[in-house]
Symmetry: C2
Subunit: 486 residues, 2 copies
Amino acid sequence: MPPHPAGSPSGSLAAGLAGGTQGPGRLRPLLGTVLTALADGATARGGPLPAGGPEAVARRVREACTPVLPDTGTGAEEALRTLVRALAEGAADPADPRCTAHLQCPPLAAAVAADLAAGVLNPSLDSWDQAPSATALEAETTAVLAALVYPHQGPGSQGPVHHAPDALITTGGTESNQLALLLAREHAAHPPLQVVCGANAHHSIHRAAWLLGLPEPVTVDTPAGIVDPGELARTLEHLPRRSTLVVATAGTTDTGAIDPLPQIGRIAEAYGAALHIDAAYGGPLLFSDREAPKLDGLTAAASVTLDLHKLGWQPVAAGLLAVPDTAALRPLDHRADYLNAADDTEAGMPDVLGRSLRTSRRPDVLKIAVTLRALGRDGIGRLVDTVCDQAHTFADLIEQEPGLTLHRRPAISTVLFRPADATDHQVAAIRRTLLDQGRAVLGRARADGRLWLKATLLNPATRPEDLQQLLDLITSAPRTEGTTDR
Amino acid sequence: MPPHPAGSPSGSLAAGLAGGTQGPGRLRPLLGTVLTALADGATARGGPLPAGGPEAVARRVREACTPVLPDTGTGAEEALRTLVRALAEGAADPADPRCTAHLQCPPLAAAVAADLAAGVLNPSLDSWDQAPSATALEAETTAVLAALVYPHQGPGSQGPVHHAPDALITTGGTESNQLALLLAREHAAHPPLQVVCGANAHHSIHRAAWLLGLPEPVTVDTPAGIVDPGELARTLEHLPRRSTLVVATAGTTDTGAIDPLPQIGRIAEAYGAALHIDAAYGGPLLFSDREAPKLDGLTAAASVTLDLHKLGWQPVAAGLLAVPDTAALRPLDHRADYLNAADDTEAGMPDVLGRSLRTSRRPDVLKIAVTLRALGRDGIGRLVDTVCDQAHTFADLIEQEPGLTLHRRPAISTVLFRPADATDHQVAAIRRTLLDQGRAVLGRARADGRLWLKATLLNPATRPEDLQQLLDLITSAPRTEGTTDR
């Protein structure tokens, strides 16, 4: 019955399961192969990303991975060596200080190592009997994270229901925002729910409204990069009377700016609107005593998005949606007899199907829990402080450079800047040239009517000299494609 | 600037990034800790799942993981040792032959090892400059998997558009089904889209319709466990004239049954309805020359769901949604200037934002690609054949056991059975007792008006004697709680 236990490469692999008492012994040599391939690939790349641009990268990957599905397998060792090396050689590695475009963090080794165990055991968080310990670990961990967001809502009971802050683990801010809008849709007394957000809100707010069949969000202009409370009030004043959800942002994607949360909370309340705060980026400032006050006003929100794969140093996915009371999650309650039959639930088996819209669900909680315990609140807070400090250092360096213009002092760890005399086309071309040459990964953002280069500092190991080298790449970059723009 | 490079445990961890050329060296000892903790946990568990039931498991996990967020960290080694061991000791490990309730497969070591590299490099598939090689690897791999589903639709061009089968990688069948309904909603000429499915369809169809703001699906009774074509035709005949999506299932959750796909395809076409086939479970039968004919009729579908974390031996998540033509995915096109600005796309940077509703997105493609290459089509096909053979062996053993009743010969690898003279309450109690004792994880399903025990055979290493031992647990189980039922 055990298929081809030895012999052909694919046969020997067939018996190679990761789990059980024998799995770790099978994994050990394969993990060695992966680590070697990662190191070889990083050395071959020799920089933050591969040189040559999209076509060259695609060609090299195609050469490495063809045939994708051979008739006869090449065996685990060969496949891992070839494909992991190709992935590493062609990666934009956020652990390189010159890879600093996006909210894509370099993950901690501890988090990545923990995530291995999630794959080995493959618990699926859609029923207790697929994930006994993972269910419990998720409950403990989300309760603590929710209490970090909503510290004043202590646990309590009303009748048979236990009231306490709670959090769902998601694939990221986008799913968290989608769930937030869904919960608001279901709680709406006067449907259809109208979402109101700043022009600075994440694109996922608009996409979620479309997905959920809601009206297009009403957008408040944000010329200063943050929602103006007076402008928000005027917008709410003129809306038809129906259920409204105001969405504020704590850490915009373009500049890292934080909307004035306390004022927005008061205005939303005054107009009877619910409030969701997308703190995907800024939320983990809560780990830092120094930075946490920037999030004052957070607890007024009916729901808060945060991502630990941004300021939190987790590999994707590690999103969260926090709510002040478990009862707010009730619209997600769902029954599927094979997963949470009523008599099983009555007999004491935890019902976890209502903790996600997914069914099969990987325990992303494990890497999060390992990180929280390994670093502690102080340790994570210090990492947060470090990248915020880096952003100020970077802004200082830009201000000291006559050929560069700084957009604004950083709110979190995002810095916008540009060559003082460049056109928008030249700015875009500089970014693409550095990408094509494999020299730097910088982002782009439009603010105050101009295009800027964007650096999002998320690498705690980056040194001041790395930041200076990044700037030197810009100041020494040749100008091209500058004729057709302002 | 580098924070606390040495000294306190959390300080030493702060510098411990998984990426770059130094990451593999940092990871090696941590992975050793994880493997040891996994082996220790599995040994301590000593069976398919922990004994004691939900409360005892929760208590042990709570003891291990408290405090979840200490002020000062315990360091990576301690956190990994403690939490990975707790997770393993409290896991329902699908690599144990007695853990056979759900479509939760025991992952291959090669797939799990590959997934480690995804975490280390942390490419995020929402823009090319976060994932150069991962973008290319995903394109190559999904094209091959889509061609497996739609072999007759070769690549071709009409004007500037390249037409070929395509597939999206999802978090699982639930997200795939959700996307399928969303695509159908957006393609609907006469909205609102009406979904029509069998009573045997996965609960995610109903949940997706709710999420998307669609009318409640019209459900066709399936007393035989599969959709009856005549019944479907009568249902479609009586629907109001508007856009309709018929959903068929290839591998139901309860019994593994496959709807009569060719007839359903003809009826859908005759009534002008679109067809989606949820082959989350059955889809990978395509890897086996022997089993693939069970899926005849698949290519008539506008979209097909399949999960490689079921028959495919991947850790969650490894879902797919295949379509016969890339153009079908156009409703997902989406622009966010920081990720796919028009001038970057024109300059040749691949636009990947339309390949998911998520934004940050982990490269689940890597483990899939490593598995396809390592095993080849033959190797995966043999694994498929093996578990299907096991199911027949298991059915044989049940038929030979006078005290047990077999529901039906298996369609894929799911087998329903029950003690011949037990009440439904007794069946449910037997399952819970085995769970509480930590002796077996069996599923449950209702069919032909009765409750059955369910075994879903997905472990290629399971031997006939393991199957006999599983049956012995049932035949020797004491009967309890049987007084109030039929």
